[in-house]
């Protein structure tokens, strides 16, 4: 009885806590709401990703109904593949350049276009338009611009007396990667600009008014009011840009096809070449797994540290 008496309040407390938890977390109902999205997520992401991981341990050619398990042979082969080394280096260069340059330009444009500028709406539209253009069109347009003989870039250089600087931009190893990065930067400026503009418009005007009254200069206002207020936007822009840059494929595929030779190969194009063209799907999926691991490894610590700092 004593036991029963002793347990009763605990049970009641437990039941109460359960009800509280149920009330707080909603019981099964949230899971039911999440179920459709979860099903889509598992079907179209988790399952294919798991399958890809599995195939990275096989010698599947990507077309035949049969394959053998080869263990870590594909990963071992990657360490001896000179194109993988070159692709990783290209990825690194691409990631740094196509994050830093568009973010800096996008931020600058956002600050300029957030002020009292005549025609800022059409200017915003103008700078954002490249983001919505089809990539293949952009690749074709820039391919023509870069044409060594009758492209606008070389024609202009010759017209202004700088003909010695005219180059076969996409046709030589030394300039091909940089030449593809230029349209990529042009394409990407609009995205950070848009996010920064939205964030800038959320900064209360009173802060600038108070700073002006206190005698703060424009650069002090930029440094001590604008930049700290943009920190959440920085997180989003950098994280998304990082992932987007690391998985680059389309721009390079459309403009240079990874060439000349293998000069502009990145991990994404090399994966594609192996899976779809060389009939080495096992090896190609091993490259895909490595890309994923690197992207996650690079992103997660940054995400965690910034979240912790912000909290």
């Amino acid at each position: 009885m004593a036991t029963a008496t002793a347990l009763a309040p605990a049970t009641r407390e437990g039941a109460g806590a359960g009800r509280q938890n149920k009330k707080r977390y909603g019981g099964l109902r949230p899971w039911l709401f999440a179920l459709p999205a979860l099903a889509v997520y598992v079907t179209f992401l988790v399952y294919p990703a798991g399958t890809s991981l599995f195939f990275s341990f096989t010698n599947w050619d990507g077309l035949s109904p049969t394959y053998d398990i080869v263990g870590l042979a594909n990963y071992e082969a990657m360490t001896k593949d000179p194109v993988v080394v070159q692709a990783l280096l290209n990825n690194l260069v691409w990631t740094v350049v196509t994050i830093v340059v568009p973010v800096v330009i996008g931020l600058t444009l956002a600050i300029l276009l957030n002020g009292k500028v005549r025609g800022k709406t059409p200017l915003r539209l103008l700078f954002y338009t490249p983001c919505v253009l089809p990539l293949v069109s952009i690749a074709s347009i820039w391919g023509w611009l870069y044409n060594p003989d009758y492209g606008v870039i070389n024609e202009t250089l010759r017209a202004v007396g700088l003909g010695s600087l005219a180059q076969p931009w996409l046709g030589q190893d030394s300039t091909a990667l940089a030449a593809v990065m230029v349209p990529a930067i042009w394409l990407r400026v609009g995205f950070p600009m848009l996010l920064y503009l939205a964030a800038l418009q959320g900064i209360p005007a009173e802060q600038y008014e108070a700073a002006t009254v206190d005698g703060a200069t424009r650069s002090q206002q930029l440094w001590f009011i604008t930049m700290p207020s943009l920190r959440p936007a920085h997180y989003i822009v950098l994280a998304l840009s990082l992932i987007d840059s690391f998985k680059v494929f389309d721009m390079i595929y459309a403009m240079t096809y990874g060439g000349p030779g293998t000069a502009t190969q990145v991990m994404g194009t090399w994966m594609y070449a192996n899976v779809f063209q060389y009939y080495q799907a096992g090896y190609g999926t091993a490259i895909a797994v490595v890309i994923t691991v690197i992207a996650v490894a690079v992103s997660i610590p940054y995400v965690l540290s910034q979240t912790k700092e912000h909290s």
Binding site: G171, Q172, D173, P232, I291
Partner: protein, 434 residues
């Protein structure tokens, strides 16, 4: 405070979404399975699908022809085309469709190492019973059939035996004072010099995908190595690390250094530059007979203003490069008999002419001399001149790409011709081992 909370959540949400997107993109082969996909049509279906790479000049004719077949046979055939990409992209799309389970019943494909994987993976049906049923062995060029036979299996029905030669603008030649086509390699070099002196780019090619510039290198190799050795090099029976190959790479570099090729040739898209000889930006290109209908006449120009010649090799027999194209039928077609009937219909001589196939494998389907006089010239050349397989069909794609990377390094001066020959031998050895 409210804003910071929302931002953190938003950030985490966006990060998660981005991670999902990133992971999805990075593991994009996920739909692949241990079993290959089948054709779109179900069992005994009268719905067929034909996948091809016809361009605007011929796709309407093909669709009209297929519609006629449908009306006679109670079928409904969808024709899809992916024009312009050449062998660099089309096989990838085809492969993805086959694996995705929506593959076509019939697809057009090149022979040699481009078509071989589809046969070896048993995606393509063995057409031997239909060869017998329709008598294709007697209707179709025997050499072409061999180009689509893999490990003894007749996996394709060839429709084209393409011959590669030089196609030129008479106006450009006249401007440069070139009165006759070259009869030796030395005369070809002399002609190039005259064209450059006249301010005309001699040979227009584009190296973006590799294959187009290979048309030049394989010719130079035929010149330096001769037919017997060239064939043995392609089959791996002889080492590439030898003087004849070094000579070919040296000549290859010479073509660029003497500006016989367009400036920045390695970065140019073949589809952008192939018809530069038609528009007057260059004197000639190395291509096949399709250029008469799809290049010259599509630009509303007369064949009379252009000419063609077989590249002189100074060898006996004097050969040109060539390749085979044809149709394969899916091993999983929902109605293989109707699909085979459609194939038989497509290789009737009249239809081959309607489809402007200017180098048909079909007996009696030679090009009309009055409409395609230049293509007809190649019909005559083909009677006496054998062909060797183009290098991107002679090698698996990976080896062909390595080959092109070596050629690219030679043109950029990053590799000497002697080192290129060694590197090529290394690539061919690796191919043989694998």
């Amino acid at each position: 405070m409210t804003r910071s909370t929302w931002t953190r959540r938003g950030f985490l949400g966006l990060s998660a979404a981005a991670a999902v997107a990133g992971t999805a993109a990075c593991t994009g082969t996920g739909t692949a399975g241990g079993t290959a996909g089948g054709a779109a049509s179900g069992p005994a279906s009268n719905n067929l699908r034909l996948f091809t790479y016809e361009d605007d000049t011929t796709i309407a004719n093909l669709k009209a022809a297929v519609a006629t077949f449908d009306s006679r046979n109670g079928t409904t055939t969808r024709v899809d085309s992916l024009p312009g990409s050449g062998a660099a992209v089309y096989p990838d799309k085809l492969r993805a469709e086959l694996l995705g389970g929506s593959g076509p019943d019939i697809w057009r494909i090149w022979g040699g190492q481009i078509g071989a994987p589809f046969a070896k993976a048993k995606q393509a049906a063995d057409l031997a019973p239909y060869y017998q049923k329709y008598g294709w062995d007697t209707k179709i060029n025997t050499n072409a059939i061999a180009g689509m036979t893999f490990d003894g299996m007749k996996a394709g029905l060839p429709i084209v035996v393409a011959a590669i030669g030089a196609w030129y603008s008479k106006e450009s030649m006249d401007k440069a004072g070139v009165s006759d086509t070259p009869k030796s390699y030395a005369e070809l070099e002399e002609m190039n010099d005259k064209l450059v002196a006249a301010g005309i780019t001699p040979c227009t090619l584009g190296g973006k995908y590799g294959w187009d510039v290979m048309r030049l290198f394989e010719y130079l190799l035929e010149v330096s190595a001769g037919p017997d050795l060239h064939d043995k090099l392609l089959s791996g029976e002889e080492s590439w690390d030898r003087p004849e190959v070094v000579t070919a790479f040296t000549s290859f570099k010479k073509w660029q250094d003497k500006k016989w090729l367009p400036n920045g040739v390695l970065g140019l898209d073949p589809s952008d530059v192939e018809t530069d000889y038609v528009s007057g930006k260059a004197a000639y290109t190395l291509t096949g007979t399709w250029t008469e209908a799809q290049g010259i006449q599509a630009a509303k120009k007369s064949s009379d203003d252009f000419g063609t010649f077989q590249l002189p090799t100074d060898q006996t027999p004097e050969r040109h490069s060539g390749f085979v194209e044809g149709y394969m039928m899916s091993a999983r077609s929902g109605n293989p008999d109707k699909a085979a009937a459609l194939l038989d219909y497509l290789v009737t001589p009249d239809l081959q002419a309607t489809l402007q196939i200017t180098s048909s494998t079909v007996t009696g389907a030679e090009p009309d001399k009055s409409k395609l006089p230049l293509s007809y010239e190649w019909t005559e050349i083909n009677k006496t001149s054998p062909f060797y397989t183009i290098q991107d069909q002679a090698f698996p794609k990976k080896t062909a790409d390595q080959y092109f990377a070596i050629q690219s390094d030679v043109l950029q001066g990053k590799t000497s011709p002697a080192d290129a020959a060694k590197a090529m031998q290394s690539a061919v050895s690796a191919m043989a081992k694998s």
